[in-house]
Every structure is written in structure tokens, then in C-alpha cells.
Symmetry: C2
């Protein structure tokens, strides 16, 4: 009970009054999450960079998009993302609804346009049906914004319980002795100053390199959004749920080893030289944050294109 | 009963005595089918071009591989592929075991090597476990060939029943009146000379342009495998299962409309000018070959890399 107030309980769904999560929206969102025709090339879907077979990430340092363009940032997991106070490393989108509009229009990612997305969807009868069911009050439901809302509704259901949640719920056997040691170290070292809340992070911005400069870091982060010099090198504190499954680490995926990432954090954020023993214990605790039971995603059966569907433009 | 001898009954599994289909192999094969670390870039998996959310195809005229290289041929569906007498448009692989080794080593597709595939897999403890379970007699089970065998075992379970199978099983209401008309036309026109057997195709080679030359066709097909001039423009007759879901059509994906593909077939293969009415009926029958019930695939949860896992090389 000492621990619960620091973190809190994972909800069933990360609901949003402005975009209520209904079964019809979630089902449509699941189809659209896997729908490569939302990209100009008709080759890239959300799942291409946030693979739900791979804990919602692509496993690459930074992501590969349209025409194999390699982006500047590491793809965070979409698992539990909806719970965060903001989206993207620099917080430039306030929620998953706003965020979902980004990649489809990003020339380096899905490289489409609002018109092309809508034209492709409107050309497919089954999507006409599914949008009407998901947005019953809309007379012309197939819009770019509704597509993003449906995807966001699906993401709002991608919340993963872990053994740590079971532990906080009172099942003290859910964590191994070493993991409990790691939890204690995680708290006493001060990691919880920034990695707290139901997502164990995702609740605030912080400078990366608060106490000691991060030598290799060039990305100015939040500064590019606010233009406020105080925001240079400021990033959203990432959620640590599933962190043992979402390597490589940091906003540019530079670090592959979780031990190294933890050691770096101790030093640059808290000015501490964590011992290998402390690092080992913390990493063991972090392992208890992985999805348990594992994610169970059934693939949609995407409807065929028609003569009216604009062709792929690789 | 007149119809059954032409097509025959779809088996539950397309077994192969040389690679018996066991639950452990199928499960491992399902993981590997979605495993992008089998590619040099760690970005491309079998599923990237044979999306099981999209009837086992990528929906592109020809496929996009490593570094966005665009290949010369259309990706056929992996659904029911194992039943065919040979694999690839030019029959250069005798079965799905042999075929599965192709893409991983193809510089334009997954661009890996046997060594890199094995090194990546051996670096991941969970794969060590899964290979031992799938190949219990092997002391050193993680081999390139065993990876292909496991993938093939998974593909051997991807057989899709359709309303047409129900009709041949005696449920005469499984086809609509128009579909029955289409079946009659499909038979009487002579399509079954080449599109027959349990896969409604996939059982023989035939020249594409048997009666009339196919103006736009450059691909020499089987000739590139046999070097026998008689094999110029000879291709495997494709299965027509799920054909309404696997546009675009022909070995280079040149034709998007199924009506046009049917009309072309009537002319170039049978020397007949099918009426729009006949084409419409045939296409309606072809719709009854789609998977019913639809495919139900649960995504695997891919195990994380370790420090020993060779990094992605995009
Ligand atoms: Ca990451
Ligand atoms: Ca993909
Ligand atoms: Ca095709
Ligand atoms: Mg594991």
C-alpha cells in the first residue's frame, strides 16, 4: 500500500469523453491500424512501425517509412500510450486522436494526404458500412478525423496488465524477491520522481540530461514545439511498461541494453553512479512491467479494393 | 456430384511426410512468419508481402522489398499455396519448404544470409526453446532449413474453406443462383481445363497466351528455369481460391479488375470472346471461392533481442 499511491491502478480502457470508446469504433480502428491503404504506397500501416506482434514497436533504432526513408526518432510503443498526458517524444500532440493524424500525412512515414485517405476509404463498401456503424450520428462519416478517432479508440483498449499490477493489487507473490529488491531501489534511487503514475512514466516533460549533459544528444526535443530555449533537450518521460520488450532505448534508439539505459538515467538524471548490482535489480523489476497475460490480437480481414480505389503509389 | 470429381475436397492440412505438421512446428512457424529479424533490415517479414490481414497478399502490382526495391512479380497468396504441385510463378521451388528459403536470401526481398538468420535466432533464448520443441530429435535445431520447415508447416495449415466447398459437400444453398450459373459457365467455357483440382488451379504449367499472344507480357516465366524454348511464357496456373481478395492479377499484377482478367483469359487461353454476361456470371462464381468462415489469425508475441542479436542493417 506504500507503493500504490506512487503508481495507481491501470484502468480497463483509457476512455476519452470527446471520443467515447465503443465496440464499433474499436473494431473499425483495429481494421484501420492494419490498413496499408492509409499510406500513399498502400504498403505501410500503423502496424508496420508499431507491430502488435512485437509489443507495439518496430525494434529499430529509428523508424523506416515511405521509400525506405529513415526517420530521426525511435517509435515508442502504442501499448498503454493512450494513458499518457501527451503524445510524441516532444509532446506535439495532446492525445491519441490528434496523434493518429500525424503519420498518415508525414512525407517520411505514410506520405498520404487527407484527400487520398478519404478517397481510398470511400471507395470500399465495407468501410462505408463500418464508418456508419462507428459514427451513427454522422451523415457523411468517412472523414480523415473520424478515421483517426477510430484508430485512437482501438489504441485506448491496448492496455496491458502486468505482474506488477497484480502485486499492487495485493498478490505479493506476483514479484520475485529480486524484483521486489529492484522496486525498492527504483523508489529509493529517485526514478519515481519522473517515472510514476499508472504508466510508470508518460506523465510529464523533463530535460534529458538534467544533472549531467548527454554527450551524444542532438535532438532539441520540446524546444522545436515551443521555441522556448528552456525546452531544449526536454522530452516526455516515457512510460516504462513493457520496456524490456521495446529496445532500443531513448528518443533516437541509440542504446540497446536496458542495463546501460538504466545506468545512464542514474547518472544524467540523478547524478548517481549506480552499482552494477543496483542496475541489475532495477532491470529485474522493470521485467515485471511486461504484459502478463500477453497481448491477444486477432488480425482483421481487410476488404478488397474496387475500381474506384486510387492505386498504390510506391 | 458432377462437379466434385473436377475439384475434389479441401483437406484439413496440406501435410508433407518429409516435414510432418506438428503443433510445435506450426506455432514456431507462426512466430517466424511474422518475424522481421529474418530480414537483414529486421524490418521485413513474410507477413510484409503476404499479409494475413489481407488474404495473404500485399495488394500491390509487384512487391516492395529491401531498401524499397520493387520486384518484377506479383506476390501470390500463401493461403492454400501449400496444396499446389509447385511454388513460384515459374515453379522453381518444389514445395513450400524449399520456397520458404528463397525470400530470406533474395537481395531484393529480405536480403539476409543463412548465417545471419541463424545467428539472430540463436541469440534469442525463447527461439532456442521453441526450435528444440519443434525439432526434438535435432541436437542443434536452429538451422536455416529448420526455420524454413517450421514456416512451411505453418503455411500447411493456412487452408481456407469456402461456400463452394460447402456446395460440393452437398449444401446446394451455399451458392446463389447467379453463382451456380457462373459455375456452369466456368465449366462449359473450358476454364476447368487448367483451373481444376482442390485449389481450382495450382496443378499444372500452361502457356500464358496459349491461343492469342498477351501483348504486354515480357516475363519468360518457366523458360528462365528450364532454358527450354518451349517454356517461354509458361507459368504455373494459379489457384483461384480467394481470387476476389488478391488483386491485382497475373504474374506482374498488371490487371486490377477481375472482370478484365476473366475476359483476357477467355480470349488468350481459349480463343473465346466471352460476353459481359458470361464474364459477370463467372466473376460471381469466383466470389464463392473466398474464405468462409474468414481467416482467424492470432498474432504471436515476438521475444526480445539480446546483446548477442546482430543489429538491424537497413
Ligand atoms: Ca524503444
Ligand atoms: Ca509491414
Ligand atoms: Ca494477385
Ligand atoms: Mg520471453
Amino acid at each position: 500500500d506504500k507503493v500504490k499511491p506512487i503508481f495507481g491502478i491501470l484502468p480497463k480502457v483509457a476512455d476519452n469523453p470527446a471520443n467515447p470508446v465503443t465496440p464499433e469504433k474499436v473494431n473499425l480502428g483495429r481494421y484501420l491500424f492494419f490498413e496499408p491503404r492509409l499510406s500513399k504506397s498502400a504498403k505501410i500501416s500503423c502496424n508496420s512501425c508499431h507491430s502488435l506482434a512485437n509489443s507495439g514497436v518496430d525494434g529499430l533504432p529509428t523508424s523506416i517509412g515511405h521509400k525506405w526513408q529513415i526517420g530521426p526518432r525511435n517509435a515508442p510503443t502504442v501499448l498503454n500510450a493512450a494513458l499518457q498526458f501527451t503524445q510524441f517524444w516532444d509532446g506535439r500532440a495532446k492525445d491519441v486522436e490528434e496523434q493518429a493524424m500525424g503519420p498518415m500525412l508525414n512525407p517520411k512515414e505514410m506520405a498520404s494526404t487527407k484527400e487520398l485517405v478519404v478517397q481510398r476509404l470511400k471507395s470500399i463498401p465495407q468501410y462505408e458500412e463500418m464508418f456508419h456503424k462507428a459514427f451513427p450520428e454522422d451523415t457523411d462519416p468517412i472523414t480523415f478525423e473520424n478515421a483517426a478517432k477510430a484508430i485512437a479508440a482501438f489504441e485506448r483498449t491496448l492496455l496491458t496488465l502486468s505482474r506488477f499490477d497484480r502485486y499492487m493489487d495485493g498478490d505479493l507473490s506476483a514479484l520475485s524477491p529480486e524484483e521486489k529488491e529492484g522496486l525498492k531501489t527504483f523508489i529509493q534511487t529517485g526514478c519515481i520522481t519522473c517515472h510514476n503514475g499508472t504508466d510508470i512514466g508518460g506523465g510529464m516533460f523533463q530535460k534529458f540530461g538534467l544533472v549531467h549533459k548527454v554527450e551524444w544528444l542532438q535532438d532539441l526535443g520540446r524546444f522545436e514545439v515551443t521555441k522556448n530555449p528552456a525546452d531544449k533537450y526536454v522530452f516526455k518521460v516515457p512510460s516504462l511498461r513493457n520496456v524490456t520488450k521495446t529496445a532500443p532505448y531513448f528518443n533516437n534508439g541509440r542504446v540497446w541494453s536496458l542495463e546501460e539505459a538504466v545506468k545512464t538515467m542514474g547518472y544524467v538524471q540523478l547524478g548517481k553512479n549506480l552499482s552494477d548490482e543496483e542496475v541489475k535489480k532495477i532491470v529485474s523489476f522493470l521485467g515485471s512491467l511486461a504484459a502478463e497475460p500477453p497481448l491477444q490480437i486477432t488480425l482483421p480481414n481487410l476488404p478488397p479494393s474496387t475500381a474506384k480505389t486510387p492505386k498504390p503509389m510506391p
